[in-house]
Amino acid sequence: MLKSLKLRAILIFVFLFISIIYLVPNIIELEGAWKKYFPSDKIHLGLDLKGGMHLLLALDTKKLMDNMLDRKFNQLKDGMIREGIRFVGLDKSSDSISVVVKADQREKFYNLLGKELPDMKVGASRNEGDSVALDLTYSEKEIANLKDNAIHQALETIRNRIDQFGVSEPVIVQQGESNILVQLPGVKDPERALELIGKTAQLEFKLVDEENAAKAGSGTIPEGDEQLMLKSRNRDTAVTMTTPILLKKQGLLTGDMLTDARVRIGGEFHNEPYVALEFNSEGSRIFDRITGENVGKRIAIVLDNTVYSAPVVRERISGGKASITGGFTPDEAKDLAIVLRAGALPAPVTVIQNITIGPTLGEDSIRKGVQAAVLGGLMVIVFMIFYYRASGIVADIALFLNLIYLLGAFTALKATMTLPGIAGIILTIGMGVDTNVLIFERIREELRLGKTVRAAVDGGYSKAWVTIFDAHITTLITTCILFMFGTGPIKGFAVTLAIGIIINLFTAVFGSKTIFDWILVKYKPRSLSI
């Protein structure tokens, strides 16, 4: 401990000064030149105080692997046909592709594999007569890799969507292996935001199978076809209807080839908003070809397995432009354009946690927390003065210092204040005086033994120190564990309690001792009011 009283006092005031500097932006709105001299950060409020939405999304990795395998399956099939590899069987299970090729085709097949599917490995192979059966799977490493890429792509996509939607200070981070945490503080329309974030936005163009439509009506769906729902809205009654529609399963074109998607209004669409799409050069070429090949037929525009429209192709469309109609409201059209521009999620996501806090609730919580803090603080202050008289005032000053330092440090560290965090501050008030109670009781004991005031104060502080230190460390252990395992609000509690405890070690011991020493030097009292 520093011997010089002056130095100790200076240290306390320097810390006080720094804390107040950090606290200023919380109290008054700074303007003009003042802004230069003060830090700009206010205490960061958590979602539970500010209102907003906290989402935990799980990326459907099973579906992701399924999609990937699907793609590989088609690639392999096309490759074998192109290279003229004779195969007897080709099938797909949940995690592997099984191929049966003629034995003499084996080498050609391996060449194709090496060229087109280098990321797949051949698992088991069996001889079946003059054929070989092979199982193709992803290696463990490749699966991990794919999942990792997918989660990054999903994060990027969601970030894009939220950026375009316009939310200030969003948090979008990976949590665990395949979860994504999204926090949108102060979001005005949580439902719409959820809709926007959660949409897979897998856009596909597929051919309508009208020849077999009659068959599908009787319940049998032909090989290579699928039945999806066509959504349409009655323009007069605004009632949405869905009707089944039979499509060729094989997609003609997907949304990854889009360069732009914008909301347009009017034209032939009865002044309704619609989304105008623009393809890149490859997409334009494909679109040009498919429209050319299918004049007179219907092409369905499918988004996340729902058909939005299925117009008849009147003529070949060059230039790479298309549009999606579907009786959208302006907001719906705007959001659809955003998700199409931002790109599709690599697999569907499910919302596994959704905490939505309205602004009223947050304000309510702040008010209640502050009220409880004020009442609790006042009771402790009054009690300390009642019980320890003048020395109680010293403890109260230490407590006050603790609070100012705590809030200053909290702002400087850019920590997030939550409702449990406020409870942490209140608890710090209670536990903070604990230290002074320990010291004061020790001083009383020393005084009872007949020691002088000076000796009793010194003795009390040095004897209580070990106990105080132990007590602080044990509480710190639990707060550290809380911080490691806790989620947002709990972390706020752990942080305030931890900072509070560390600061308390300084204010309640060092701070209050300095005040005592100052009084002892200045007034040399014969007795102590304690």
Partner: protein, 301 residues
């Protein structure tokens, strides 16, 4: 010199009371163990954080009787719902288990039912919390790991600062507090949520602080002890010496927590109530659980 004291120099025979108090402690521990078993079986009042489900906080501008809210929800198809009313306000807390409402989310379904069947009452959703079952499972695991880790950290620290016997005694006392708190919460059918786990850990830390103070004094006095036969007396004296300190600090902490209980609102009520009970149990255990354990161990060994 005169001091203001809540306890004059006391000479309570704490060690003499130990057997009676052990009965009480054993009861609390058993209650806690029973509560723990019930929690593991999912038969306690667990929050949606752990079980999965949906929680809604709603407000009406005009008074709405709880019965008409309930019947509106039931006729709307939401049958398994817990409704809690906030006294003095037109606020309600609704809690449902995980259920399949098709593409429509539970919170949306509930709010559309209420706005349709109780129109013109100024209905408003203040906040909602939907938790999937996988989240709850992870959380349960984390909670158990966190509690186990803190207890371990505590034993190691105390064993290092004092010795093994003190470490074990402090840990048993802490364990006693955690279980007692769990048991009391179970008995009162109060909701256990993440904040409750936070309270358990905080109390573990607090109770230990209290135990450390008593242990420090016992150790100090044991160093001056002449024969082992005096151990009971030494422990008694130590507790008596720090008694006023123990009571005062508990009192100051209880004062602030009481403020939280009264003014903290619904979200913090269960949390602060847990802290309130926990502080009392923690103070009790450092005197009547931790210290007698040292006595028993040392006099037997």
């Amino acid at each position: 010199m005169k001091f203001r004291e809540i306890t004059k120099k006391t000479k309570i025979d704490f060690m003499g009371l130990r057997n009676k108090m052990f009965v009480l402690s054993a009861f609390l521990v058993l209650l806690g163990l029973f509560g723990f078993v019930m929690v593991s079986m999912g038969k306690a009042n667990l929050s949606v954080d752990f079980t999965g489900g949906t929680e809604l906080q709603i407000r009406f501008a005009d008074p709405v009787p709880i019965s008409s809210l309930r019947s509106a929800l039931i006729s709307g198809g939401i049958e398994d719902v817990q409704i809690q009313e906030v006294a003095g306000k037109n606020d309600f807390f609704l809690k449902t288990k995980l259920m399949n409402t098709g593409p429509q989310r539970v919170q949306d379904k509930i709010s559309s039912i209420i706005s349709a069947s109780l129109p013109g009452k100024g209905f408003q959703v203040l906040g909602s919390n939907m938790v999937g079952s996988s989240v709850g499972k992870t959380l349960k695991q984390h909670a158990i790991i966190a509690i186990a880790l803190s207890l371990l950290g505590i034993v190691i620290y105390i064993a290092w600062r004092f010795n093994f016997v003190f470490g074990v005694a402090a840990t048993i006392a802490t364990f006693h507090d955690v279980l007692a708190l769990l048991g009391i919460f179970y008995l009162l059918h109060l909701e256990m949520n993440i904040l409750f786990i936070t309270a358990l850990l905080t109390i573990a830390g607090y109770s230990l602080t209290d135990t450390v103070v008593v242990f420090d004094r016992i150790r100090e006095n044991m160093a001056k002890m002449k024969s082992r036969a005096d151990l009971g007396k030494v422990i008694n004296n130590s507790i008596n010496e720090v008694l006023s300190r123990t009571l005062i600090t508990s009192l100051t902490v209880l004062l602030v927590i009481a403020a939280l209980v009264v003014l903290g609102g619904h979200v913090l009520f269960d949390f602060s109530f847990a802290l309130f009970i926990g502080v009392m149990v923690g103070t009790y255990s450092s005197i009547f659980v931790a210290s007698p354990l040292i006595y028993l161990w040392r006099t037997r060994a």
